[in-house]
């Protein structure tokens, strides 16, 4: 199989790095570790030395450092040379897998559970395995049963005039952990005159596998999903998850080899993919939601650079809900420490990153935290366990509650 994420192909990109070290300013890991080997510049220089120029052996420490990245892409947002740090890390992890194989747990999750999207017995097995291997810090999440995709599919038509027709991509977070988000997205779209198609047999977007360097599983997911969504006659593909959006909009086409027959379709799906709040904010509300007299704050997920309006849209929508008060936290764009499933592998590190975020959240005095990423939502919820009055929700849920004329 000819693949894109071949580390030696990144030699040129790595050598374009100005070595300015501006990435020190934004890296959440550097902020905790405070050593320069734990920041983008140090990491890509190490990747260059161990995998491209091979002047250093690929030691355990090197592997640790390569895996010690959240892939939050904060470093890229201030990088003067526009180095694709996340792609370089993914390629390096792919190289590690080629050399050392995939870990048991990862193999099981990427190649069985996320690939076949089967819940019930299999998912429960995973949960018990994670527990046995002590891979899950804190509470083991309750999995939705039935999962969202088992409960909702087909074409859902709005009551009045139709303003649009979209396909809804169900992310794994919504499917297994937070089906309430899926219900809210559909409610808000229907209330605003948008027809929603929920295709059956959707797969995981593939970003967890890609982030771990398991390109094979990622490509499988990309191809399957692309075929499904490219075949639909819709104005837009909607996702409520910022990481799924990042995958579908940016990474999918990049992960496919240039001569892949699926590439054209992947690009056309990418072209019409929108994050849910962004789509709704752009469309505008035709129905004013009922009052929600609550104080909320907004945590901006790391995977935001794929869409310009993404961090603005939840704020816009919040301002359209009567009596809702948005209290901005310090550095709302700073990572919460989850990093997808990063927190499973690096629990202590993730917890110290999260603690800063929790302090910022509590200082706002808000009772509800909005965020579009299910990993952030889960991880923040865990961090706020001792604050039973605090809730973490997808921004769309606030609108949906407004339409159901009930308090969140």
């Amino acid at each position: 199989m000819r693949t894109i994420y071949n580390i030696e192909d990144y030699s040129c990109e790595i050598n374009r790095c100005l070595q300015c070290n501006f990435c020190l300013a934004t890296c959440p890991i550097y902020r905790e570790d405070m050593v320069e080997s734990s920041v983008a510049r140090g990491r890509i220089n190490l990747i260059n030395a161990t995998m491209v120029e091979k002047t250093l052996p690929l030691s355990d420490r090197a592997r640790d450092l390569i895996n010690r990245c959240l892939l939050c892409s904060s470093c890229m947002q201030g990088c003067p040379s526009g180095i694709p740090v996340d792609d370089i890390i993914i390629a390096a992890r792919h190289e590690l897998i080629k050399k050392y194989g995939l870990g048991m747990a990862e193999k099981y999750i990427f190649r069985r559970v996320l690939k076949t999207r089967s819940v019930g017995p299999l998912a429960n097995k995973v949960v018990s395995m994670l527990r046995r291997l002590k891979l899950f810090p804190g509470q083991i999440p309750e999995l939705a049963n039935p999962s969202f995709n088992q409960r909702v599919s087909g074409t859902l038509t709005p009551a009045g005039d139709k303003r649009g027709r979209v396909a809804y991509f169900i992310g794994c977070g919504t499917n297994y952990l937070f089906p309430d988000t899926g219900d809210a997205v559909i409610k808000v779209l229907l209330e605003n005159g948008v027809e929603v198609i929920v295709p059956k047999n959707q797969h995981c977007c593939g970003i967890p596998a890609l982030a771990h360097g398991d390109l094979e599983s990622a490509l499988y997911a990309i191809r399957e999903n692309t075929e499904i969504f490219a075949s639909l006659d819709v104005d837009a593909v909607i996702t409520d998850c910022t990481s799924c959006g990042y995958m579908i909009k940016v990474k999918a086409a990049r992960a496919l080899p240039p001569d892949d027959p699926c590439l054209g379709k992947a690009l056309s799906v990418a072209g019409k993919t929108f994050e849910a709040t962004e789509y709704i904010a752009r469309l505008g509300l035709i129905k004013t939601p009922h009052s929600q007299p609550i104080k909320t704050t907004y945590h901006v997920p790391c995977h935001r650079a794929w869409s310009r309006d993404l961090p603005g849209a939840p704020r816009t929508l919040a301002s359209l809900i009567p009596d809702l008060q948005l209290l901005e936290m310090r550095e709302p764009q700073r990572c919460c420490g989850a990093g997808g499933a990063f927190f499973l592998g690096q629990p202590d590190l993730s917890q110290s990153i999260r603690q800063r975020k929790i302090d910022d959240i509590l200082d706002t005095g808000a009772g509800v935290v909005m965020t579009q990423c299910p990993a952030c939502r889960y991880y923040l919820q865990q961090g706020l366990r001792n604050q039973p009055e605090m809730r973490v929700v997808h921004p769309v849920s606030l609108l949906a509650a407004g339409y159901l004329s009930k308090n969140l």
Binding site: A25, V35, E36, S37, G82
Partner: protein, 452 residues
């Protein structure tokens, strides 16, 4: 010391093997001290065993001051990052060396105070590094550079002694000015651990202007006139034609490609005075052949203008694998001659050089496109650098306005100060660092101080 704060594995050392220049030398260890006492023990040990020590802030230097030397210990000072005090009544602040410049600025600005030095790397660089290189930025034209704000310093010397000099007083006439000797010493005399800095009050109003001159000479004359007539701009930046083209090719924003000088001007202070200054600047520009001069009407428009200036760095970075940013500085009336000389130098060595710079203070930043993997090109780049240095000195300028000398310009130092000048500096170093362990090979070529 905590073992976690001593790095010895190659994978970690690699991250410290260079700064923002491209020479790579692996240190033997990195030590991350938390207080002057720990630094003193490291220096005493290094001094007894003749191990070189290279202090390091954020490693953003463009002259190679923080590049390791063979067999050295790197002292990573970024964890000494406490702001100790901001004294609103005396208008001073005391901070540890590892405080990030921008964090420090934000902290004082919250109290209505202002710390002007603004190196481009201020989001990551440290106050200690700024003092050690006398760093500056665009605001230098009105407010000076780091050297103009240091009132006091604490430093650890190679024998482990800790000296304190200066303090929260505005005047000081006692003894040699050790603060000024340590400022710009680039880690060759000791380790600066704490600084006391002068603050001013935050200017209440700020306006941004652009002035577009078809001819460079006219622009330069206008700049001299603006300053001579007391308009006192807080930034006076120039983009050369080539820089404008570089930006436009990277991020089209409608800048005029057919003019020799694109000026960005900022004025700050009391609103009435700012208004008056903007008016005066526009008038002077009109008297000097400006094609267009305008004042941004709101913050958004001002932001757009500065975006052009900020885009130059990334735009240049996209042109070549490496960009060497030079720092030659000349009297402001010599700027046109220097800009032309740089164009000649680029042509004679067949290299590409984009010029931008702080026109108001004569500090130019020729950006030389390079590729460290191409030794033949690098030889031409080095020759061009040497010629730029020669030309700056010929035009009564200096080798460096705000970056320092490091190793990159060490071969040129004699051209500026002559043998006597450099020997005197060596004797000063010898007094601080008799065994020559502190950042050897920087500022002047290695080994010099042993031949005294």
């Amino acid at each position: 010391m905590d073992r976690n704060r001593i790095l010895g594995e190659k994978e970690d050392l690699l991250a410290y093997s260079n700064d923002a220049t491209h020479r790579r030398i692996m240190p033997v260890a990195v030590v991350i001290p938390r207080d002057p006492g720990e630094i003193a023990s490291v220096l005493r040990y290094a001094n007894e065993n003749r191990i070189p020590v290279v202090p390091r802030g954020a490693g953003t230097g463009l002259a190679g001051g923080a590049t390791p030397v063979p067999g050295c210990i790197v002292l990573d000072l970024k964890r000494m990052n406490k702001i100790i005090e901001i004294d609103q009544k005396n208008l001073t602040a005391t901070a540890e060396c590892g405080v990030v410049t921008q964090q420090f600025q934000l902290a004082v600005e919250k109290m209505g105070l202002f710390y002007p030095p603004d190196p481009q790397s201020m989001s990551v660089c440290t106050l200690g590094g700024n003092v050690a290189t006398r760093a500056g930025g665009p605001r230098g034209v009105k407010y000076g550079t780091t050297k103009d704000y240091i009132l006091g310093v604490q430093a650890v010397l190679p024998d482990g002694s800790i000296i304190n000099y200066g303090g929260k007083f505005v005047k000081m006439s006692a003894g040699y000015d050790l603060t000024r000797i340590l400022a710009g010493s680039e880690g060759t005399l000791g380790v600066i651990t704490r600084v006391t800095l002068r603050l001013i009050t935050l200017p209440p109003c700020r306006r941004t202007m652009v002035a577009i001159f078809p001819e460079l000479d006219n622009a330069a004359e206008a700049v001299s006139a603006i300053i001579a007539e007391g308009a006192n701009p807080s930034c006076l930046e120039m983009l050369s034609q080539q820089s404008v083209n570089t930006i436009e090719n990277y991020l089209p924003m409608g800048l005029p490609r057919d003019v020799e000088a694109f000026l960005l001007i900022e004025v700050d202070g009391h609103p009435a005075k700012v208004e008056e200054d903007c008016h005066l600047i526009a008038q002077i520009c009109r008297g000097h052949g400006v094609r267009e001069v305008r004042t941004a009407q709101n913050a958004e428009e001002a932001e757009k203008i500065w975006l052009a200036r900020r885009a130059l760095f990334p735009a240049s970075a996209h042109l070549a694998p490496n960009v060497l940013i030079e720092d030659a500085t000349v009297p402001r009336t010599m700027v046109p001659a220097m800009v032309r000389a740089i164009a000649r130098i680029a042509e004679s060595h067949q290299v590409t050089i984009g010029v931008s710079g702080h026109m108001g203070d004569g500090n130019l930043h020729p950006g030389i496109l390079a590729d460290i993997r191409d030794p033949e090109l690098m030889r031409r780049v080095e020759k061009a650098m040497a010629d730029i240095a020669r030309e700056a000195l010929r035009l009564s300028g200096t080798l460096s306005g705000e970056h320092g000398i490091g190793y990159l310009k060490a071969p040129f130092l004699k051209w500026e100060f002559g043998d006597h000048g450099v020997d005197l500096m060596r004797r000063i170093k010898k007094a601080f660092d008799p065994n020559g362990i502190m950042n050897p090979g920087k500022i002047w070529l290695e080994g010099g101080e042993d031949n005294l």
